[in-house]
Symmetry: C2
Subunit: 110 residues, 2 copies
Amino acid sequence: MLLEVPEPIRKQVEKKGGMKGIILTLPDKSSIENEALMHKVLSNPLRIRILNLVSKQSLCVCLIKQAIDISDSKLSYHLSILEEAGLIVGTKKQNWIIYEVTHFGKEHAL
Amino acid sequence: MLLEVPEPIRKQVEKKGGMKGIILTLPDKSSIENEALMHKVLSNPLRIRILNLVSKQSLCVCLIKQAIDISDSKLSYHLSILEEAGLIVGTKKQNWIIYEVTHFGKEHAL
DNA sequence: TTGTTATTTCAAAAAAAATTGAAACAGGTG
DNA sequence: CACCTGTTTCAATTTTTTTTGAAATAACAA
């Protein structure tokens, strides 16, 4: 039996070109995957906090650590995820690495 | 020794009221957690696809399933996460449950 | 050289999220 | 009643993410 569906829905769907027509209007796989990826990066409270902090003020890891109060390796892990996503970037200055928000990151912070 | 930091950073931080001053301007814990939670919900491609689909057209589970092509229980699992987040809502009509996007969900879809 | 600071990397363990398949349930129909 | 259909729930498993602590690295200072 060919998939029964509620009548009003059937009609609405028909008007939009059937399920195929509707499906055609959806974003394609890779743009959905990119969107999901960005949400994944921002799905952790620590990372949001770090991104917010760094977008208020570029900081060395040691000052970020002081503000966020987590272990070095944990901080480094989250910084690397933010950096890989292109939201922040770290550059070596003398003894320190200064992380700052990128243009792209600014759109997402706050 | 009291935490050495790069001199230019130290000065910029000083101008903003020190680390304490900067930290005070950050969103509070619970609003950050809420934000993270919403990103977590949208961090899965299947869920984004379902949300997009349902916001084009309210649909019964059986038609969503046809469009997305995953198992019943998997679909149900993701629907429940979207619903719990307030992005979609399912209401029983006769034999079927019709899911539709909420006002809140519309802001996030696409 | 030895030591020290700032930061990352790595492997192991722990925690969280997603998938699976079977079972349950509710509302109809024969 | 026995049987579908549409959908959810549950427990077990798998996969992914996060946390931990130790070790590595790089640069510089004694």
